[in-house]
Amino acid sequence: MLKVKNLHACVAENKSIKILNGLDLYIRKGEVHVIMGPNGGGKSTLANILMGRPSYEITNGEVEFNGKSILDLAPDARSHLGMFLAFQYPVEVPGVRPWQFLKASLDAKAEANREKKISVREFTKIFNQKVEEVGINSNLIKRSLNEGFSGGEKKRNEILQLQIINPLLAIMDETDSGLDIDALRIISDGINSMRSNQRSFLIVTHYQRLLNYVKPDFVHILVGGMIVDSGGPDLALKIENSGYKDYIK
């Protein structure tokens, strides 16, 4: 599903800041991959680059999604292909209601893929159902997108979007940071209920604790802009005990 080959990237405004230095990653359909690593290792950058954030520049390498090169595509085109990024820090957009935003998102995707748009009625039904499942305060959801939401509520809102947009590949950028244990469980349930043999996950996290709830197929360690080690869930436990010092020269 996702092939990342020898990816090099730097900050667009300051090319001397190199963030990824030859990263390789291969995710098949239905797999759940977790990326861990020390601060500044390039985890979040990788998540953002895959979605096409313009503030980074690719200097070398290739990224393919379902056999198609995506590096020249804008973020909206990547979304239409079935990619999704759950943001670490979802931005506030005053005056835009989540309902309206998500409807526009589905409509844009339907239009790009020449499919029929979902009716307002059907969409509202799904929306209300998912709002309840994800446990978002229904008064909150009537307000502006992320405006006045607490950190936990913003993350839940990301899960709501994930559930409604139904992507093929969900990239979760530290979605578990700053959550209390109840919220963590709800977020994990949200991810687990989305797992299928058609959908893949790339989960960026700082903590092993998320993996108590979400069982990954692979764990990768990202240090200095490269993947330096890969393994199964055991690897995460090892990191939890001994840290990253073995990997940092």
């Binding site: 979605m51 954030r53 909206d76 999704f84 990024l85 957009v93 998500l102 998102s105 844009a108 502006s144």
Partner: protein, 376 residues
């Protein structure tokens, strides 16, 4: 002339039936068609062209014309008072709630011409009316002048809601031509009356416009909600005056200025609390949004308080459409243009939601069209 309206997508006789909106159309300052007049007449509501009003209701015209905006007020109101040929006249009798929106469409057709129409709305005691004003002008190379005067009279316990969508020709991308929109709009609110101005200003090369409320009666309320957009070489200088005379008077100002291209947007407003206006309150909010790095936003609030019991609040902010917001929306599948549009209409929502529903949709579309080429 009716054909011209059809071309614009404003078929008067169909529109009235579909939307239940009564329409008066004014071309080059001449009223050409008024709809629904009969139905309104059953309730005693007068909604007609100024010419008809002068002929059929001379007493009302004589009593109120120039009572809020005297001909001595300013240069353009004087010019208007001297030469105005037609316009729109509305009278709501005591105790009547006007059951439909009243709408006037203004249009300047002739090149090198000016439009000097006059609007007078009188809401008698304990009545209510919602009035919509739409403006269009086709593209002309030379400039045109629009110097209108709008007078509102809200008698005791009445309410007038006046909404404007102004889309006069803004001139070319290089700043050639366009309408000079120098308009005097003012209302007088008597005891416990309420006047609410809502405007979406996207057109005109230069706009000078300050819809104001004289809060004369005790407990009267004045509101001003505005979105003004200045793209390319447009200059929008707009705001309001709230003049508190009566006791316990209350005013609210929400002004949103969007600047793009080389456009300049100025909020110019004045809140005056007169000596006898005990316990007057005002809340003012001025927000500016900048798109690109060659445009400007300016805020010039005047506050004059002559009664110590007054409470005034002033909030102001300036922001840009952030790259983070754009990336967030685009990552969910919205194109760059759609993302911009959503951010901008969301930002303007506090004002747009004050518009009658049909107008709100139109206003949102208008913002989108007016910003084409400004983003990306």
């Amino acid at each position: 002339m009716l054909e011209a309206f059809d071309k614009l997508g404003i078929p008067l006789h169909e529109r009235e039936k579909l939307a239940g909106v009564a329409v008066d159309a004014v071309f080059d300052s001449v009223s050409v068609a008024t709809t629904f007049a009969d139905k309104l007449a059953e309730l005693g509501i007068i909604f007609c062209s100024f010419t008809e009003a002068v002929q059929n209701h001379p007493d009302l015209v004589r009593k109120y014309l120039g009572s809020v905006v005297p001909y001595t007020d300013n240069f353009y109101s004087c010019l208007n008072s001297a030469v105005f040929s037609d316009g729109s006249f509305t009278y709501i009798p005591p105790g009547v709630k006007c059951p439909m929106e009243l709408m006037t469409y203004f249009r300047i057709n002739t090149e090198g011409s000016g439009q000097f129409e006059r609007t007078l709305i009188i809401a008698d005691k304990n009545s209510y009316v919602s009035y919509l004003e739409g403006c269009t002008a086709p593209m002309r190379k030379s400039s045109q002048l629009h110097a209108a005067v709008v007078e509102l009279v809200a008698l005791d316990d009445s309410e007038i809601k006046y909404s404007t969508i102004q889309n006069w020709f803004p001139g070319t991308k290089d700043g050639q031509g366009g309408v000079y929109n120098f308009v005097t709009k003012r209302g007088r609110a008597d005891r416990s009356a309420k006047i609410s101005w809502t405007q979406v200003e996207t057109g005109s090369a230069i706009t000078w416009k300050y819809p104001s409320v004289i809060l004369k009666g005790d407990n009267s309320v004045g509101e001003f909600f505005s979105v003004a957009l200045a793209n390319n070489h447009q200059q929008a200088d707009t705001g309001t005056k709230m003049i508190h005379i009566g006791k316990n008077t209350k005013s609210t100002i929400v002004s949103k200025g969007i600047s793009a291209g080389k456009g300049n947007n100025t909020y110019r407003g004045s809140v005056q609390i007169m000596p006898k206006a005990e316990n007057a309150t005002n809340h003012t909010q001025c927000d500016s949004l900048l798109i690109g790095d060659k445009c400007g936003a300016h805020t010039v609030p005047y506050i004059e308080v002559r009664n110590p019991t007054a409470r005034l609040e002033h909030e102001a902010s300036t922001s840009k459409v952030s790259d983070d917001q754009l990336f967030y929306l685009m990552s969910r599948g919205l194109s760059e243009e759609e993302a911009h549009h959503m951010i901008i209409t969301g930002w303007s929502r506090d004002v747009i939601k004050e518009l009658p529903f049909e107008f709100a949709v139109e206003a949102s579309q208008l913002l989108k069209v007016s910003l084409e080429g400004a983003v990306g």
